[in-house]
C-alpha cells in the first residue's frame, strides 16, 4: 500500500531566550521487508541557522536544528510518500517461555537490533512489581514467547481505556497502569514494562496510522496524531514482532514506522531546549492517505 503522509507540529513559546536547539525525529526510513520511502521532506520554520540530518544509534533518521537567535514559535512540516509492504503475522517458531532466557543469553553483540538494549529498565520504562505480576497472571511457562506477547497485548487492550484526558507525555507507566487509562504512549509503555518484567525484550515504535480505515472497518484510535506501538523480541528464530495494544492487533499494512527506541525518550518527535522561562504549547495534525491504484 502506498501512502501520502503529511504532518504538521506547531509550537508556541511563552518566553524565549537567546537561542534554541531541537533534535527532531520525524522522517520515516527504509526498513527491509517492511516499508520503503519513495520521498520524504521535513521543513522547519522559521528557517534554522543550522541543520544536520543524520542517523541515530537505533537507525532512526534524526535532524538537529538550531537557531542562533530567539524564536517564539516553530513549526515542523513533514511530507512523505511511503510504501508499506503487506506483512503477515509470522508463524510462531518462538521458544517456550520456560526456555526463553537461554535463547536470549545466546545472543551476543550490541547492534541496533540486539535484544539486550530492550531487555531491562530504560530511562522512562522500568518494570514494576504490579505490571510484572499482571503479566505473570496472563502467561505460563508452556506458552511460546509470541503467545505471551499477544496475550498481554490483548489483555491490556481489554483492561485499559483509551482516554486522552487521563495522562500527558510525562505520565510514568506505573501511574497509567494503576488507573488503567491513557493514550497510545501509555498503552505502549505499560506493555513494554510488563514484557520486560517477564524477561521479554520490548521496545517502542513511533509512527503513523492510516487516517481512514478501509470500508467496513472502524477508524483506528490514534490516527489523528502520531501513533505508538510495541515491538517485542521473541527469540532468535523469529526476531522482532510488532503489536499495537491500543488497537488490539499486530501492526500490519496500516502502520508506517518512523522510529524504534527503548521508550518514548529515544524517539520523541522533538527533543529540545528552548531556554525558556514560560510554558509552551503545541498542536499536531496528521494525514495518512492511501494513494489509489497503488
Amino acid at each position: 500500500m502506498l501512502y501520502d503522509v503529511s504532518l504538521t507540529i506547531e509550537y508556541n513559546y511563552a518566553a524565549t531566550s537567546d537561542r534554541a536547539r531541537n533534535l527532531v525525529r520525524l522522517l520515516p526510513s527504509d526498513i527491509a521487508g517492511v516499508q520503503q520511502v519513495r520521498q520524504r521532506l521535513l521543513q522547519v520554520t522559521p528557517r534554522p541557522d543550522e541543520r544536520r540530518d543524520g542517523v541515530d544509534f537505533f537507525g532512526n533518521a534524526m535532524s538537529m536544528v538550531a537557531w542562533h537567535h530567539p524564536i517564539d514559535a516553530m513549526s515542523l512540516n513533514l511530507t512523505a510518500k511511503v510504501e508499506r509492504f503487506d506483512t503477515i503475522v509470522p508463524l510462531d517458531f518462538s521458544p517456550r517461555l520456560a526456555e526463553f532466557a537461554r535463547d536470549l543469553s545466546a545472543v551476543h553483540g550490541l547492534g541496533p537490533d540486539a535484544p539486550h538494549h530492550f531487555a531491562s529498565a530504560s530511562p522512562l520504562v522500568s518494570p514494576s512489581p504490579a505490571m510484572t505480576a499482571y503479566a505473570r497472571d496472563l502467561v505460563d511457562p508452556d506458552m511460546t514467547a509470541m503467545q505471551g506477547v499477544e496475550a498481554l497485548g490483548r489483555a491490556l487492550h481489554r483492561d485499559m481505556t483509551f482516554d486522552p484526558e487521563a495522562t500527558d507525555v510525562n505520565t510514568p507507566p506505573e501511574e497509567a497502569f494503576e488507573n488503567r487509562h491513557g493514550v497510545c504512549q501509555d498503552f505502549a509503555h505499560v506493555m513494554i514494562a510488563a514484557l520486560r518484567g517477564i524477561g521479554i525484550p520490548a521496545g517502542y515504535v513511533s509512527g503513523f496510522l492510516r487516517t481512514f480505515a478501509p470500508p467496513g472497518q472502524p477508524r483506528l484510535e490514534g490516527a489523528d496524531a502520531m501513533h505508538a506501538w510495541v515491538r517485542a523480541w521473541v527469540g532468535q528464530e523469529t526476531g522482532w514482532i510488532e503489536f499495537d495494544p491500543t488497537n488490539d492487533q499486530f501492526a500490519g499494512t496500516d502502520y508506517i514506522t518512523v522510529g524504534y527506541g527503548r521508550d518514548y525518550g529515544d524517539v520523541a518527535p522533538v527533543r529540545g531546549v528552548m531556554r525558556t522561562s514560560g510554558g509552551q504549547e503545541s498542536r499536531q495534525a496528521v494525514d495518512v492517505i492511501p494513494l489509489e491504484g497503488a
Binding site: R21, N22, R52, V107, H108, G109, S120, A121, R271
Partner: protein, 807 residues
C-alpha cells in the same frame, strides 16, 4: 582469630599501642615485625618529638588548610554546608622503587582500559565475541549510545584517570576500582602536600620526597596541545564543573586557579555549527578541549539526560564533529562498572596477550551459572552488590549483602536474590587492606600512633610521551581498626602519600629559568558568567553597606527620640520598606539575605576571588546572623550596624587594595559604583524633596558618610543646596553621583569593545551625556524628578552592561 602482636622494634612510647594483626600487611612494619627501611628515618625523628611539639606541628598543618579555605561539601539540607578537611597528619611513605612497580602495572591497566573503551564505542568485538556480556553493557546508564562510532579528538578516549589501590596480606598491590569518569582528589592531594610541608618542614624529609607539581603542568600542556593543534590555533581549554553545589567543587576551583585554566559551567558554553564556544566578556571564544568534571549523562540535555540543567545543549554535536575533545571522552564512566572487574583479566589476555601485572579485586558476575553458584557458596566472604554500580567497593549502597547478610532493607534470602537477579549482581571478595600509622589524640595534649586501614589513589595523565603518574598522591585512612574495605566508607580521613628516594633529590625549580626573552602572558579570558557574578557581588556588598547605614540612622534616631512615630522614623521605615526591609525587625531578615547573596556570588567565582575575601564574607554573614538574635532596638542595634559597616569596609578594602586590576575587578567595581550611585540618587530624591520631614537633610548627609566634609566645606547648617552639592555634584566625594558616574565611565572605557569602528559603544554613549549633565548642573536643578530620571538612566546602563558583557 590470632591475637595481635607487638612489633619487635618499637621506636618510642607513641608506638606502644601499635599492634600488628596477623594476616594483615602493615606499611610501617614487615611481617617479621621489623620496621620497613623506608620509614626508619622519619619515625626516628618523629619519636623524638614531645607531645606538645607534635600537637603544635599538626596545628600548623590544620591552620594552613583552614587559611587556604580547604573544605569539601557534604550533601545535606544546606546545599552550601562545608566540612573541614579531615587530614590524617602522618603521611603514608612508599619507596620510589615500589612506586615505579605500581605505576608500571597501572600503565598496562590504563592502556587496557583505553582499548576496552575504544572497542565498546567502536567495533564492539569484545561483546560480539562474548568476552563481555551484552546485557551488562546494554543496561549500563554510562554506556552512551550517541558516542558509538564517534572518533574522539586526538584519537584517545582516556586522558586523566585514577586507580584506587590497596595492599593485600602478602604484600602485593591490587586495584579496588578504576576511576575513569571524572576522578577527584588530585587537587586535594596538592593541598595535603602543602599541609604536610608545614608539619614536617625540615630538609629531611623534604629533600627526599618526589614533588607533585610537575604532574599538573604536564597534563595541562597535553590538554592545550589537544585543544589547539597547529592547524587549529587559538582554541582554548577549560574545566567543566557541575557548579558550586557539587561535593568536590572546591577542588575544581583550586585546580582551575592552580593551573590558570578557565572554570566553566554548562551555561558558559554555547554550540554553534558544531563549534563549542565560551561566552566571554569579549564575545564567543572557540573551545578545543574540556577537562570534564561533570558526569557525561548530564553534559548535553539534547542527546543525554533531558532533565539536566547543568549541561550544554549541542555539546555532543561538537564532540561528534571532532571540534571538541574531552578528558575523558563522554561515556568513559562505563569502565567504572563493578562488573567490569570480572572481565578485565580475560580481556587483557584477549586484547594484549598479557596477564594483568596488578590484579584487581576478585569479582564474579552472577549472570553466569558457575559464577553464581560460586558466589552463593562463598557468600560469607563476599560483598554482593549491583553489577552496574560505579562507586568503589567500600561505598555501599542499600541493596548490598556483605558476609552473607543484607545491609539495609531485607530482601529475602541471598540465594533467592542471586537466582532472581543474578545477571544484575556481582560478588566481590571481601578484601583485607593493609594498615598504616595514624595519630590518635588522647584529648589531654598527648596521643599515640595506631594502625589504620588505608587505600591509595594513584593519578595518571596522558601525555604525548605516554602515561604520566603523579608521584605521590592521596590515601584514604579508615576510621577504625576494621581492615575490611568497609571501614573506608565516608567519615574516614585522608593522608598525604610520600614517594621517597634514598638520597636527596636534585633540587628542581618549579619555575622555568629566565632565558632573557621574558614575554608577559596575555591576560586570561573572563567568562561572562564569572563577570556577572563579580558584578553582582559588587552590587550586593554595596547594597548591604547602604542598608546597614540606613538601619543605623534609624536606630540612632530611635534612641534619641524613643518615639517610633517621629516623622523621620516614619519616613525611613517607608523608604526602607520600598527596598524590602522591614524595620520593625531589629536586624531585618532582608539584610541577612543580601549578605548571603553576596557570599553566594563570591562562591560562584571562587577560582577568581581571594580566599581572604570569601572568609571575610562568611564572617560578615555569621556576625549579622548572630545579631538578629541579640541586637536590641536603639543604641545597641546602631552599634551593631557600625560593626557591620566596619566589617564591610574591611571587605571592600581587601578587594580594592589587593585585587589585580584585571577585567573581573572592573566588573566588581562597576557593580559597586552603579549600586552606590543609584542608592544615592534614590536617597536624595526622597530626603531632599519638599515633602521630606524636618531633619531629613542631616540624615542624608549622615547616610552619605559626609558629615565631617559638610562641616568643613560649608561651615553652615545643612541646606538643600549644600547637601545636593556635596552628595550629587561633587567630583571629589566618593559617594557623590558625579564621582561615581565618572568612575563608571572610566571603567567602561577600559572594557573590551569600548569603541567600535572609532565610535564609542552604546554603553559609553549612554554614560557620557549623563556624566556631562550632572557635571554642568546647579544644585537647584537636581530636583527629585531629575534624580528619578538619573535612576532610570542608571538602570539602562546596568541593562546595557548585562547585554554587552554578561551573557
Amino acid at each position: 582469630m590470632q591475637t595481635p602482636t607487638q612489633p619487635t622494634d618499637v621506636p618510642s612510647d607513641f608506638f606502644s599501642a601499635y599492634l600488628q594483626r596477623p594476616g594483615v600487611a602493615d606499611e610501617l612494619f614487615d611481617a617479621k615485625g621489623q620496621m620497613r627501611p623506608v620509614w626508619r628515618r622519619f619515625v626516628d625523628r618523629f619519636a623524638r618529638l614531645t607531645p606538645a611539639e607534635i600537637e603544635a606541628r599538626f596545628e600548623r598543618g590544620d591552620q594552613y588548610l583552614r587559611d587556604a579555605g580547604v573544605f569539601y561539601r557534604q550533601y545535606s539540607n544546606d546545599p552550601l554546608a562545608e566540612r573541614d578537611w579531615p587530614l590524617s597528619h602522618i603521611p603514608v611513605i612508599l619507596h620510589e622503587d615500589e612506586w615505579a612497580t605500581i605505576c608500571a602495572g597501572l600503565t598496562q591497566r590504563a592502556d587496557l582500559l583505553e582499548r576496552v573503551m575504544a572497542d565498546l564505542y567502536g567495533p564492539g568485538r569484545l561483546v560480539a565475541d562474548n568476552h563481555l556480556p551484552a546485557a551488562l553493557i546494554a543496561r549500563s546508564p554510562h554506556w552512551l549510545r550517541p558516542m558509538v562510532g564517534v572518533e574522539p579528538r586526538g584519537g584517545h578516549y582516556l586522558h586523566f584517570i585514577a586507580f584506587e589501590i590497596g595492599r593485600s596480606p602478602d604484600g602485593t598491590w591490587f586495584v579496588l576500582g578504576d576511576r575513569t569518569q571524572a576522578p577527584s582528589g588530585a587537587g586535594f592531594a596538592l593541598e595535603n602536600r602543602m599541609a604536610t610541608g608545614r608539619i614536617f618542614p625540615e630538609r629531611f624529609p623534604r629533600a627526599h620526597i618526589h614533588k607533585l607539581s610537575g604532574f599538573f603542568g604536564t597534563f595541562r600542556n597535553a590538554m592545550e596541545r589537544l585543544a589547539s593543534p597547529q592547524w587549529e590555533p587559538h582554541r582554548v581549554s577549560g574545566i567543566l564543573t557541575p557548579g558550586p553545589s557539587n561535593d568536590t567543587y572546591y577542588e575544581h576551583t583550586y585546580i582551575a586557579r592552580y593551573l590558570g585554566m578557565m572554570l566553566l559551567e554548562g551555561e558558559d558554553i554555547v554550540v554553534e555549527n558544531a563549534q563549542a564556544m565560551v561566552r566571554t566578556i569579549e564575545g564567543l571564544q572557540p573551545l578545543g578541549m574540556l577537562w570534564r568534571r561533570i558526569d557525561a549523562a548530564f553534559a548535553d540535555p539534547i542527546e543525554f539526560n533531558p532533565t539536566s540543567h547543568i549541561g550544554t545543549p549541542g555539546l555532543m554535536e561538537a564532540v561528534r564533529a571532532g571540534h571538541l575533545g574531552m578528558a575523558n571522552a563522554l561515556g568513559s564512566g562505563v569502565l567504572e562498572m563493578r562488573a567490569m572487574m570480572a572481565f578485565l583479566p580475560r580481556m587483557s589476555k584477549v586484547l594484549t596477550g598479557q596477564a594483568l601485572a596488578l590484579p584487581n579485586i576478585a569479582t564474579w558476575w552472577c549472570g553466569g551459572t558457575r559464577e553464581r553458584a560460586y558466589v552463593q557458596k562463598n557468600a560469607q566472604n563476599m560483598l554482593i552488590s549491583p553489577a552496574d554500580a560505579v562507586d568503589l567497593p567500600f561505598d555501599l549502597g542499600a541493596t548490598t549483602a556483605l558476609g552473607g547478610e543484607f545491609r539495609g532493607t531485607a530482601m529475602g534470602s541471598i540465594s533467592d536474590w542471586l537466582e532472581r537477579e543474578g545477571d544484575r549482581l556481582v560478588g566481590q571478595e571481601a578484601v583485607t587492606l593493609s594498615t598504616t600509622p595514624a595519630w590518635q589524640a588522647d584529648g589531654e595534649g598527648s596521643g599515640r600512633v595506631v594502625p589504620r586501614p588505608m587505600t591509595v589513589r594513584v593519578f595518571a595523565a596522558r601525555t604525548p610521551e605516554g602515561w604520566h603518574f603523579m608521584k605521590g598522591g592521596y590515601a584514604r585512612i579508615g576510621r577504625s581498626e576494621d581492615v575490611t574495605a568497609l571501614a573506608m566508607q565516608r567519615g574516614g580521613s585522608v593522608a598525604d602519600v610520600w614517594v621517597v628516594s634514598d638520597r636527596p633529590l636534585p633540587h628542581t625549580k618549579s619555575a622555568v629559568p629566565s632565558d632573557g626573552n621574558f614575554r608577559r602572558a596575555a591576560p586570561g579570558i573572563l567568562p561572562a558568567r564569572a563577570a556577572d557574578n563579580l558584578f553582582w557581588l559588587g552590587r550586593y556588598v554595596e547594597r548591604t553597606e547602604d542598608a546597614a547605614r540606613l538601619i543605623r540612622a534609624y536606630h540612632l534616631r530611635l534612641a534619641a527620640t524613643d518615639n517610633r512615630n517621629d516623622p523621620r522614623l516614619k519616613a525611613l521605615r517607608s523608604y526602607m520598606a520600598g527596598y524590602g526591609f522591614d524595620l520593625s525587625q531589629t536586624v531585618p531578615e532582608a539584610l541577612i539575605s543580601r549578605i548571603s547573596t553576596a557570599r553566594n556570588c563570591a562562591f560562584n567565582v571562587r577560582d577568581r576571588f581571594s580566599t581572604d575575601g570569601i572568609s571575610a564574607l562568611s564572617d560578615l554573614l555569621k556576625t549579622a546572623t548572630r545579631m538578629t538574635k541579640t541586637a536590641q532596638p536603639g543604641d545597641d542595634c546602631a552599634r551593631a550596624m557600625s560593626v557591620l559597616v566596619r566589617k564591610i569596609a574591611g571587605i571592600t578594602g581587601l578587594v580594592h587594595e589587593n585585587m589585580y586590576r584585571f577585567a573581573g575587578w572592573r566588573f566588581l567595581s562597576i557593580g559597586r559604583a552603579l549600586e552606590r550611585s543609584d542608592a544615592m540618587a534614590s536617597l536624595l530624591a526622597r530626603f531632599t524633596g519638599e515633602d521630606a520631614p524636618e531633619g531629613a537633610l542631616d540624615l542624608a548627609v549622615e547616610v552619605g558618610d559626609s558629615i565631617i566634609t559638610h562641616q568643613r566645606r560649608y561651615r553652615v547648617e545643612t541646606s538643600r543646596d549644600t547637601v545636593v552639592d556635596l552628595l550629587a555634584l561633587d567630583a571629589d566625594n566618593p559617594r557623590a553621583l558625579l564621582f561615581l558616574i565618572r568612575a563608571l565611565r572610566q571603567h567602561a572605557e577600559a572594557l573590551p569593545n569600548a569603541h567600535l569602528h572609532g565610535r564609542p559603544s552604546d554603553l559609553l554613549r549612554t554614560i557620557l551625556p549623563l556624566e556631562t549633565g550632572i557635571a554642568c548642573a546647579m544644585p537647584v536643578e537636581m530636583t527629585p524628578e531629575r534624580l528619578m530620571t538619573i535612576r532610570a538612566e542608571l538602570a539602562r546602563i546596568s541593562d546595557l552592561i548585562s547585554a554587552t558583557y554578561l551573557r
